[in-house]
Structure formats: C-alpha cells, structure tokens
Amino acid sequence: MNTLKYLFVGFVFGIILTKSEAISWYRIYEMFQFQSFHMYGIIMVAVITGSIGIQIIKRNNVKDIDGLPIEIQDKESGSTRFWLGGIFFGLGWALVGSCPGPIFILLGAGFLPVLLVLFGALFGTFLYGLLRSKLPH
C-alpha cells in the first residue's frame, strides 16, 4: 500500500509531463529560442501552486500523512556549486531536451535511444561523486 501511493503519484506525474509535452525535445528547444510561452507558463504556474501550498502548510502546521509535522528542508548554503552545476545541467538540458525525470518517462514511452542519455547521466553522476572533493562549492 505504501509503495502503491508512490507508484500512483509517479504514474500521474508521467502522464502530466507527457501530455504537457514538457518531455519533448521540441518544446525545450522552442523554450530556449523564446518562441513559445508554453514551458514558461508551466513552470510559473507550478511554482505559484507550490508556493501557495507550502505557505498553507507552514502557516497551519499541517501534519503529513503519518501525522508527523512537515519539515521542508532548506537547500544547503553556497553559490559556486549552484551556478556552475546549473550551467552544466542547462547545457545538457538544451542539447538532449530532457531533465532527469523526463529521461525515465521517455524510456517508459518507448524511446530506446534515450537509454544512451540515461547511461550518460548515471556516468555523469558517478563522475561528480568521484571528483566532488576537487570541485569548488
């Protein structure tokens, strides 16, 4: 049952991202060329919805599904890692048109060549783990 609720949320997420076409290489290209509002609208409305929800949770001390207080962790401090890491990810995002979530969704949707992107992403993650102590954060 515990597993099922995560499967279900993921299932809905996969359908939303596919039907909104946020997993489409074309949509990402169009976004970075500033030729459509579609992707910007999606991100904007998601953030507005999310921030209203988080404010409601914080102000009313809403409990989670198990009755425990909800604590939303702050991001770790620092600057360099966010700028540089962000730029690296942005380069990849615009090249192959997918973020980590969509890589999996596209694989589920049957696009086999996306396997190469997944292998690359796993290797890139491994590289970061390997080089972490040598990188500026």
Partner: protein, 185 residues
C-alpha cells in the same frame, strides 16, 4: 474527450505539477528526480570506493517507485492518449529546425534526427546523447537538483540557492541552444 488527447494547456499542467510536489510533501517526502540517479549508482555498491554513494539507498526506494510509476505514465500517455495534433510548436521554430536538418514534429514528441532508432548507427549521435546525459548527471548532482528539485520545489519554497541554479540552467541552455547546437547540426 478531446482533453485526453490534445496537448494539455500550460495552466492545467503547471497546476497539476505543483499538486504532485505538494502531494509528495504531504507524504513526508520531497519532489526531486535527479537524486534517483545517485540512488541507482549507490545500488551498484560503488559506495565502497566512492564515499559520495555510501548511503542507505533503501531509504530512497520510495522515489524509485515514483520513477517507475512515471515510466508507466509515459507509456500510457504516449501510446493511448496521443494525437497527430500534439507538439504544435511555433512555425518559426519549425523553419529554424529545418535549416539544422531536424524534421518537424507532426505529433511526435522527439525528432528522429536525434532519437530515431537509426541513430544507433551514427557514432556522432551516440556521442551527442551520451555527452548530453553526462552534462545532465554531473550538473544536477553538482547543483544538487534539477528542474523538479530546484525550479519547482526550491523556488516554491523561496530558496535563493535554487534561483541561482535556475539562472544557471538558463545560462547553460541558452548557450547550447543558440551557439553550440547550430555547430553540431
């Protein structure tokens, strides 16, 4: 029934994505997809050699189920809920892509030029997809988050670090889309 098959408008999609994030918060978790890549690395036992992956991956199993569900969702949406009217991008974008040798979508989510099965015979395209993946994996771990973790979760929680990361995403994305892609295609 059109709503099932047509492209979902941005205000519907954005609202639902926000609700997915809030739903995971209500479950006592956080919305972030790229951490699954770390979890998959950790599952191989590589943590014995690289300490970054030395964590209890079983505690992250819930997120792998989210990903598994997302794959099923992608399957259902692509095979049973799609229509030739999908992915109607800007005609200007289509003209621009034509010049790069990338075909118009005509309802498809991905261009064959990059993601058709024929690319397995092109060393150049294999290389491009692998490099793209490496940039995504390395960059998201370095920045400790991707579009879901920073752009949606982080910005919703007014995190200044997430804003830095998202600006970084766009700096990188604009450089790739405007200056590097035209050199590659």
């Amino acid at each position: 029934m059109d709503i099932i098959f047509q492209t979902w408008p941005w205000y519907v999609s954005g609202f639902l994505i926000g609700m997915v994030m809030l739903c995971l918060i209500y479950f006592g978790k956080a919305f972030g997809m790229s951490s699954n890549l770390s979890t998959l690395c950790s599952m191989t036992g590589i943590g014995k050699r690289v300490s970054f992956f030395d964590f209890d991956w079983k505690a992250q199993r819930w997120n792998l189920f989210v990903v598994l569900g997302a794959m099923l969702g992608g399957f259902v949406a692509n095979y049973f809920m799609s229509d030739t009217s999908n992915v109607t991008i800007n005609p200007k974008t289509i003209a621009q892509l034509e010049q790069l040798g990338i075909e118009a979508p005509n309802g498809k989510l991905l261009p064959d030029a990059l993601f058709g099965n024929a690319i397995f015979e092109s060393p150049k395209m294999i290389f491009i997809l692998l490099i793209g993946g490496i940039l995504i994996g390395f960059g998201t771990r370095y920045a400790s988050g991707c579009t879901s973790g920073h752009a949606i979760s982080g910005l919703s929680n007014f995190q200044i670090q997430s804003l830095k990361a998202v600006i970084g995403f766009f700096i990188g994305g604009l450089i790739m889309s405007h200056f590097i892609l035209p050199l590659l295609f």
